[in-house]
Symmetry: C2
Subunit: 276 residues, 2 copies
């Protein structure tokens, strides 16, 4: 899916919500564990409950990898289900992969050619040749880690070089030359507040994937005030707050309510900041 189509969906649904499918067998309602494929059963219910209120889904690969072969089957089935049932949803494999060229190619081939997600998150630490193989797929997108939402973001990402440029700014500046605005997106954590202003000085036009509202404490209003551009340019993710809103048989309804609540807040944000 291209970003034009993605923006159309955002306008139509008045939402830029991405639902993070971080499905943990230890947290899903217990009765689902009797199911043949509890991860998939849970995801399917969550997807059906939230699809009207979001424009993207983001399975975090760690949760599927940790479940072994069954996890990978559930991941593949989940992506196939979204593509078949909700073809207008943008699908992100949150893999944060990072490896030398010939190896990065293997990851790109798997996610884009075999599984057919729209985008993959990638870590920039190893530089250009670790990211470029993903651009061999012109319809697909790399979402590069720039400024993450966690405490450890401060350890290296904010380090200033001799010219006062911080590492995340250098990542944004240099990586732009590797691909078009269309193929490249960035991860910027909602917990970074006003730093969105600095991000937008360097990448005014790119889409940003924004984790960190909800459980991690970021503010939606701040993200929109400093981060929204004239095509919205934001995909704000919520995982735990939606998935585990309720631990009973009513979990899908509770997830639906959470997603709807976020969509309503996002609709207000779009009216307030989209064409300012």
């Amino acid at each position: 899916m291209n970003t034009q189509h993605l923006f159309q969906q955002i306008q139509k649904k008045q939402s830029f919500l991405c639902v993070g499918l971080d499905t943990d067998l230890e947290k899903i309602p217990e009765y689902l564990l009797d199911n043949d494929d509890p991860i998939y059963a849970f995801n399917k219910s969550i997807i059906d409950a939230t699809a009207p209120y979001c424009v993207a889904y983001k399975p975090n690969i760690a949760f599927y990898e940790a479940a072994g072969q069954k996890g990978w089957i559930a991941f593949e089935k989940t992506v196939a289900y979204i593509k078949q049932r909700y073809p207008d949803q943008f699908i992100i494999a949150d893999a944060k992969r990072c490896d030398i060229g010939n190896t990065a190619e293997m990851y790109a081939r798997f996610y884009f050619d075999a599984i057919k997600v729209d985008a993959v998150t990638v870590s920039p630490y190893m530089g250009e040749d670790s990211v470029k193989p993903f651009f061999l797929y012109p319809q697909n997108h790399v979402i590069l880690l720039a400024l993450t939402s966690n405490k450890g973001a401060h350890d290296f990402q904010l380090t200033e070089d001799r010219n006062g440029e911080r590492l995340f700014e250098k990542v944004l500046r240099i990586s732009q030359t590797w691909a078009s605005n269309e193929q490249m997106m960035y991860v910027v954590g909602a917990t970074q507040g006003r730093l969105f202003e600095d991000v937008r000085k360097i990448v005014p036009h790119h889409f940003l994937l924004v984790p960190g509202i909800g459980a991690q404490g970021g503010s939606l209003e701040e993200v929109c005030k400093y981060g929204m551009n004239n095509r919205c340019g934001l995909l704000v993710n919520s995982s735990r707050a939606i998935l585990y809103a309720d631990s009973t048989e009513d979990f899908a309804n509770a997830a639906c309510e959470e997603a709807k609540k976020l969509q309503q807040q996002m609709s207000i944000m779009l009216a307030k900041y989209l064409d300012k």
Copy 2:
């Protein structure tokens, strides 16, 4: 396996060779493709052929992930085979994972608790809380990317901060405080030559995993001259040069010869630099 045991193996075998199991279905001898599990069949032959000459195996996860469920089965069987048949081999999952705390925990649980490898490679970009969950397993090791072997290493890893400290040096300095010398190791590419001197100023006692000799062009002598410490402190990896030394039914013998050649060079290096 602890580093004491690893050093004993290095002394006994006069080798610090790590064989990289980057098994690519497009590169293994064609006749193996008739096999039920060609990746595992290939790995088994490579392992049996090289075990006398190496002290470690390093499956790069990208190659298994790219093969889908069959790849994961082959990965698990490969690790189980090494553990059962060659329990003195150190096993590294070259995953280069990187995620926030609760997610990094999922990766740690999978690799250390379910698969039971000795070490996992991890990317430092997201900082302390993305690495620490791996240290919950006191018998296991994190191998943190510091200065990688690829061209893209120059994009960010060599950036100097205001005090002239380069990013890879900051990663080495700060990350040392996260765990003991025993639990932490670092990736330093063989192509970095004299920079090993700078690495050793900061981490004199840690083990370094060194990719980049062979196909990537790094020099074993330079790595040893500037990188070896009094417990050797090096695991030098070779993947393609060993795995694909020959593409016929004779591939295992050719792999054996390659590994033996490297072991002989390493034996000379140990005599020359170990107790200097």
